[in-house]
Symmetry: C2
Subunit: 360 residues, 2 copies
């Protein structure tokens, strides 16, 4: 249950200010908290479509919170005005369920606003850093959802597996991956893309994402609430073993997003010409989620799992790969959870950090 | 030297009007000519940034020529107003050299105007075809330039070769491939993408494309003009055999672009979930180009080839694959040139169609 390490996470000295978009989201909040913890002298601009939380920081030199719609040129400009941004974490976006339900909104946010942010960062870099100076570091959070045409039994090797998204979300993420790469290739920005693994355990309410049950089956019962298992009929259903699921412990994923800004550009390009890394994950089964629930919450929590197959969810889960090759990421210094104990670590984190150590 | 066949090229009966963009370009002009020849009752809207040629057709019911900048909403709207478009051939674009030289222009044309065209076609379809009616057929011309991280000795199999473009052009084409696929996946349009092979012999002046010499070494000397061979020092240079080059005879490529509109959607999706086909090609060497020049133009034409290595061209040619797996395309009824005689056929076509049968 070894935790991620932070010693090597040194940002280049010219990175005195970083911008985090989607800073009000779960991943964005956790990243801002880690930046605050690791870098006492770093200025952080945190932006989102609603005002992000200030995490108790009232010194606006340290943390500047900006409510901004990055799709609106004047609001985007306002984020950069008067700043000297040396690093960007582009995390904002419409999630998979939302992008599938609202086609124009998905493209407006996941494509158009990201292109606008890229170009704004490029122009900002030209205006603020002299020629020959290292370019600002730009980390784009993509998703393993760009891969489709796979099954839960697949092991994806990025070197031989073409990207075939099965959702508008995957298409949009892949387009921006490519354009982010192009800004890097042209030398406009020092770009890096990380494809996020399913983060677990996500706090908060169930979402419309098909993957929602992966966190939900732990999260709700540990709080004494019912949760749906949409891929199986009962504890005897072999689907509980079939749907191999690729996940990452929240704090490991957050550490790795930050590591993406630290890893050397040269080393990254040697491993991935397009500077894209599939973040490492570990494989769990739905049965393992339930067993871990019982271990940490007690046998009675099983009664809170309501088995009811949902064909729509199953159809989507059928297109998810159960494993990815981690070797490129590990070679580059990204970290991976222990394959045996990592998932329990994620559940313990959730109990400690989100439930204040108390299980219902 | 068998020519492509046209008997099977039946468009669905609801396709009474087709739109061809980039209709003033080489490929666009040839496609319009083929449409005029094969379909006497088809209405063709031909558009380009400059007014496309009318090919001697003065009946504007048969051929409507529109000068339009598809990046301008009102001009794009003007193309569709009052029409009932059942098929689109989206061929317009900034070529590879131009996209690399002018980053914003490449994105404006190769990405933004194509997205606008897709959405305009989608809206047009909703307004003009009732629910349940087959969707308009949308053929997007992409390019094998989306592939990078290969060498002239590579044989690319699309099933195991991820797309890693090495140019803004390749990035832009790949983004639109993905978005075109998304419109198909959502059922908005019946979309098909063909990745064009290098078309030979291209008429006209040498272009800024690195591939320009492939047509140039035949085209200029046959007209008594000098031409540069930028990848070799002399006829003894092994580079003339090393730079395996993947090409298609013009009329075969044009036939295949039209075939993309005819092939059954169901069959296409079975072969390629994302409805993308690498158009078939044949392999030639630079030496073979020169030998064919001598065969059709006489030994003295060799004096018109000026050998002068250009590191910039070589750097790009080093990233081109010398061959692609044709099998998916052939399974779907796309045609391929004869591997032995196809290139000579392309040269004969050029002499007959572009030089009026006369060699200098």
């Amino acid at each position: 249950m070894s935790a991620p390490t932070y010693e090597a996470l040194k940002l280049p000295s010219f990175v005195e200010t970083v911008l985090v978009t989607g800073a009000g989201g779960f991943v964005g909040q956790k990243l801002v908290l880690l930046l605050l913890k690791l870098y006492p002298n770093l200025r952080i601009i945190a932006t989102d479509i609603i005002e992000p939380p200030n995490h108790g920081i009232t010194d606006t030199k340290r943390l500047r919170n900006v409510k901004a719609d990055l799709g609106k040129p004047d609001e985007l400009k306002g984020v950069f005005d008067g700043e000297k941004v040396g690093g960007v974490f582009a995390l904002h976006g419409i999630m998979s369920g939302g992008s599938e339900a609202n086609f124009p909104l998905g493209y407006a946010v996941n494509v158009d606003s990201h292109r606008a942010l890229l170009e704004a960062t490029h122009k900002h870099a030209e205006a603020n850093f002299p020629q020959g100076h290292p370019r600002p570091i730009y980390v784009f959070a993509s998703s393993l959802a760009v891969y489709g045409a796979v099954t839960p039994q697949s092991v994806v090797d990025p070197k031989t597996k073409p990207v075939v998204p099965e959702s508008s979300y995957g298409v949009q993420k892949h387009c921006i991956e490519m354009i982010v790469y192009d800004y890097g290739r042209k030398g406009y920005l020092d770009t890096r893309t990380v494809r996020l693994v399913t983060v677990t355990v996500r706090p908060g309410a169930p979402s419309s994402a098909a993957s929602s049950y992966i966190s939900g089956m732990i999260r709700e019962p540990l709080q004494g609430q019912e949760s749906l298992c949409p891929i199986a009929d009962s504890m005897d259903d072999p689907a509980l073993d079939y749907y191999l699921t690729w996940v990452g412990r929240t704090k490991t994923v957050i550490r790795n997003i930050l590591w993406a800004a630290v890893v050397e550009e040269k080393q990254l390009k040697e491993v991935s010409q397009e500077r894209i890394v599939n973040l490492p994950g570990i494989q769990i089964t739905p049965r393992q989620i339930i067993e871990t629930l019982i271990k940490y919450g007690g046998k009675d929590k099983l009664n809170l799992i309501k088995f009811k197959k949902d064909p729509a969810v199953i159809r989507i889960c059928d297109t998810w790969a159960g494993a990815f090759d981690n070797s490129d990421a590990l070679k580059l210094g990204f970290e991976v959870d222990d394959s045996k104990t990592g998932y329990e670590g994620a559940v313990q984190d959730f109990i400690e950090e989100e439930l204040g150590g108390k299980v219902a």
